[in-house]
């Protein structure tokens, strides 16, 4: 059991309105194997019940607990406290989004970007009845590294271009577009390309690679964006 100080961002819209929020310190003992989410749960259940944060599956598949820990975006449930290497742990809400309360941010703008790129399979030809469409393992492999996204928001929140341009689709939505673009079953490129071929779309990315560093699932959104550009280049030439 090691002593840690958690410096947690707090913002209660009913009390702190108009302020930029405050930082509250919690000194707690952390057991071996605890993740940052375990520590937050401990604080909520034993120290201060008013602390608000999202959480659900606590094993890195639901994407609820995206936050900024010691300045780095990740999901709290996968971040071992001991691996942080500091005795003082700063926990902040994801940047680039409006804070609703404490560590909870408004993800609506993030989801809106996804809706904009038509995040679903578009197929005009009828599928075979009572059978699957065939897809070779090689074609299926193209989806690897794109379909695993859990929508935690860590990438878009870490993107300086998104901070500057709130209309930028962001790495997440663009990677989703790439996921469908490379799917051998999808026929929606023409429809989808309008949304991403925009000054707030695929061309806005400055290949800063923050999203790659931030992704807790180790996906490479920048590469997906580059792939999209390549596809569009091919389409034009």
């Amino acid at each position: 059991m090691a002593e840690y100080i958690f410096r947690v961002f707090r913002y209660d819209p009913e009390k702190d309105e108009g302020t930029r929020g405050r930082v509250q310190e919690y000194k707690i003992g952390v057991e071996r194997g605890w993740t940052v989410l375990d520590a937050l749960n401990y604080i909520k259940w034993h120290v201060d019940g008013s602390l608000a944060y999202r959480r659900a599956c606590r094993h890195g598949i639901c994407g609820s607990c995206g936050m900024t820990i010691n300045g780095k975006n990740t999901i709290a449930c996968e971040q071992q406290v001991a691996d942080l290497g500091t005795q003082v742990v700063t926990v902040e809400p994801l940047r680039g989004f409006r804070v609703i309360k404490d560590l909870i941010v408004d993800m609506e703008p993030f989801y809106d970007k996804l809706y904009a790129i038509k995040p679903y399979l578009i197929a005009y030809s009828d599928p075979p009845t009572d059978k699957e469409r065939l897809q070779s393992p090689e074609d299926r492999k193209l989806l690897d590294g794109k379909y695993e996204c859990i929508l935690c928001g860590c990438c878009t929140s870490s993107c300086p271009t998104y901070w500057a341009d709130k209309e930028f689709l962001g790495p997440n939505a663009l990677m989703k577009a790439a996921r469908f673009a490379v799917d051998s079953r999808d026929e929606g490129w023409e429809e989808r390309v309008n949304a991403i071929d925009d000054k707030h779309g695929v061309w806005r990315c400055h290949t800063i690679f923050n999203c790659v560093e931030a992704c807790p699932k180790e996906l490479n959104a920048t590469r997906a964006i580059v792939e999209l550009r390549r596809l569009m280049l091919k389409g034009r030439l």
Partner: protein, 613 residues
């Protein structure tokens, strides 16, 4: 003529509107509910996992107005955590038959599953899988490009006599995740209305007729009334009643508790499945896929101890049998280091196979157990995983008010929160995604038929939100000495020890008293967050109330059923007792405690026999 023709005349139409002006004013006067907080939708679905979103999709496709209420954003639902696969006898890689799947599910249920429902489910399974594929699910593929399938516990060839069969359709080990996301994508495509982060508080049921739900808007705070012709619960399970569980923090028995509060019965609540391979101390699931791919279970002496308990199927025996085998090893002192831990050994599979077929399992083991399965075995222990019981429904997912025949008009339930019952006393792996999908779809279809007959809304009772408003206000104002989190921890610790893998009368009685005491203490709670905006402490307090209600029924049911069947194992009542207990438990909550009734199991084809693997 549809089967709902009889309901056409029973609705009072006021210009096809649901309320007259006076009635609207009265509703307005209910404290906390403003007129603009009353929403009207043809169908309201509570829960956005596979069952909920499948139902919503069906209803939306038919052109009706459907709203999905969910306490977390749809893709955060716990269906997404399922890893291994979804069962369907596609025979993509080797011979397989729907009848074999049928038999395996019946046998897995320890013959408590209703065979008419099981047959329907396994017959619809391939169709649902193909529909998923057409929606765009990125399934793994066979060399010919068909959907890839893998082995899974309890699924075998030739009516239980043959070797394991490749039946679990898979997308690496993220099957639930891709199904959930794809369904959500389709809902987005069709424009299903989601109310994300709305926490449903109570049902509106009058005279056996369900008219919607009352919910709390988590983000802004405030009571909302959802008025609907059709209401469907897809609220998931209650693994959070246990300390060690695979379930998400959100799986807190909300839906089942609300049904109980509405005076309706619950079915077979004593059956809670323990998954054998949860990461030690955390409970996080290591999918059965790890054993399906050939993983070994090893005790402190280095033995593959399953030799003693299921010599044929070994590690691929059903979950309940493996959990009990592990617990027996613990009790006989052969847990790793004398603790309640067993090793799951994957090392012999080799680095390549582990990386290609089990990438997420490796990631989980590394992140949560600090162990790379390529070099070391993973420490595991049994973990509360799935609730077979739930809201009694018929094969069309209509909720039964007496648990047997009488439908609560306008009310459906599907998925883990419902008990059709296809899982009986024990669920087979990969049948949960199937159950949720098939029954979500069936519920959706049935709702469509109902909506195409029933044209208008019936007036809401004016005090429909009263109960919910009172409860929220009570918790916000409560200033007793008890902390909800403390009470919950007492409940969870004791449930795992006293009402877990093995049960006996003494433990269960003790547990029942603990719950009664906790329920009393619950009346004296306080919360530290009194605000309206995103009050997660309020939500935790409400969840605890639900857990305490439902835990009482689980324990009372376990105490009542004096036999061993499937996941329910009474050490003081050895053996399955078909003479007295081949029947479903129905449990009501009354002033005096839990009251029971029973209904027979539907047996159409397979006569109960000894369940041996």
């Amino acid at each position: 003529m549809g089967k709902f023709e009889g309901y056409r005349g029973t609705f009072r139409c006021v210009d096809n509107r649901w309320l007259g002006t006076d009635e609207a004013k009265e509703l307005h006067e209910v404290e906390g509910v403003e007129l603009h907080n009353v929403h009207e939708h043809d169908a309201v679905i509570v829960g956005a996992g596979l069952a909920g979103m499948y139902a919503a999709l069906e209803v939306k496709k038919a052109g009706f107005d459907v709203a999905v209420l969910t306490k977390v954003f749809p893709t955060r639902s716990h269906s997404g955590a399922a890893q291994g696969g979804i069962a369907a006898a596609l025979a993509n890689l080797e011979e397989d038959h729907i009848e074999w799947h049928f038999y395996d599910t019946v046998k897995g249920s320890d013959f408590l599953g209703d065979q008419d429902a099981i047959e329907l489910m396994v017959r619809e399974a391939p169709l649902v899988i193909f529909e998923y594929e057409h929606m765009g699910v990125p399934f793994s593929r066979t060399p010919e490009g068909k959907i890839m399938q893998r082995y899974f516990g309890g699924h075998v060839k030739d009516f239980g006599r043959g070797k394991p069969v490749l039946r679990a359709c898979m997308a690496a080990d993220r099957t639930g995740h891709v199904l959930l996301h794809t369904l959500w994508e389709q809902c987005v495509k069709l424009g299903v209305r989601f109310y994300s982060e709305y926490y449903v508080l109570s049902l509106i049921i009058t005279d056996g007729h369900c008219q919607g739900v009352v919910a709390w808007d988590l983000i802004n705070g405030g009571i909302h009334v959802f008025h609907a012709k059709a209401t469907c619960f897809a609220t998931g399970g209650y693994g959070r009643a246990y300390k060690i569980t695979t379930n998400s923090h959100a799986n807190t028995a909300d839906g089942v508790a609300m049904v109980l509060e509405a005076g309706l019965p619950l079915e077979d609540m004593e059956f809670v499945q323990f998954h054998p391979t949860g990461i030690a101390k955390q409970g996080i699931l290591i999918s059965e896929a790890a054993r399906g791919e050939g993983g070994y279970l090893i005790n402190d002496k280095g033995e593959r101890f399953m030799e003693r308990y299921a010599p044929d199927k070994m590690e691929l025996a059903p979950r309940d049998i493996i959990s009990r085998s592990m617990w027996t090893e613990f009790l006989e002192g052969r847990g790793i280091g004398g603790e309640r831990v067993i090793h799951l050994d994957l090392r012999h599979l080799g680095a390549d196979k582990i990386k290609e077929r089990l990438p997420q399992i490796r990631e989980l083991a590394m992140k949560f157990a600090g162990v790379d399965p390529i070099d070391e075995p993973i420490p595991i222990q049994p973990t509360a995983h799935y609730s077979m019981g739930g809201i009694p429904t018929d094969i069309n997912c209509r909720v039964l008010g007496d648990g047997k025949e009488q439908w609560v008009r306008g009310f459906w339930a599907a998925g883990e929160c419902a008990c059709v019952s296809v899982h009986g006393a024990n669920r087979l792996g990969t049948n949960s995604l199937l159950d949720a999908s098939v029954h979500g779809k069936r519920a959706g279809r049935d709702i469509v038929e109902y909506l195409s007959v029933v044209e208008c809304f019936e007036p809401l009772p004016v005090d429909c939100a009263r109960k919910a408003v009172d409860r929220v206000n009570w918790i916000l104002k409560a200033d007793g000495p008890e902390r909800p989190s403390e009470l919950r921890e007492i409940l969870q610790d004791n449930m795992y020890e006293l009402c877990g893998v093995f049960r006996n009368e003494e433990d269960l009685t003790k547990m029942y008293d603990i719950i009664k005491d906790l329920q009393k203490r619950y009346q004296n709670i306080h919360i530290e967050d009194k605000s309206k905006v995103f009050n997660t402490h309020l939500m935790e307090a409400l969840e605890l109330g639900h857990l305490l209600e439902v835990a009482e029924v689980i324990v009372a049911g376990a105490l009542n059923r004096t036999e061993c069947r499937g996941a329910h194992w009474r050490t003081d009542c050895p053996g399955r007792d078909d003479e007295n207990w081949l029947k479903h438990t129905l449990a009501w909550k009354t002033e005096e405690g839990v009251e029971f009734d029973y209904k027979p199991v539907v047996i159409t084809r397979f006569i109960p026999e000894v369940r041996k693997y």
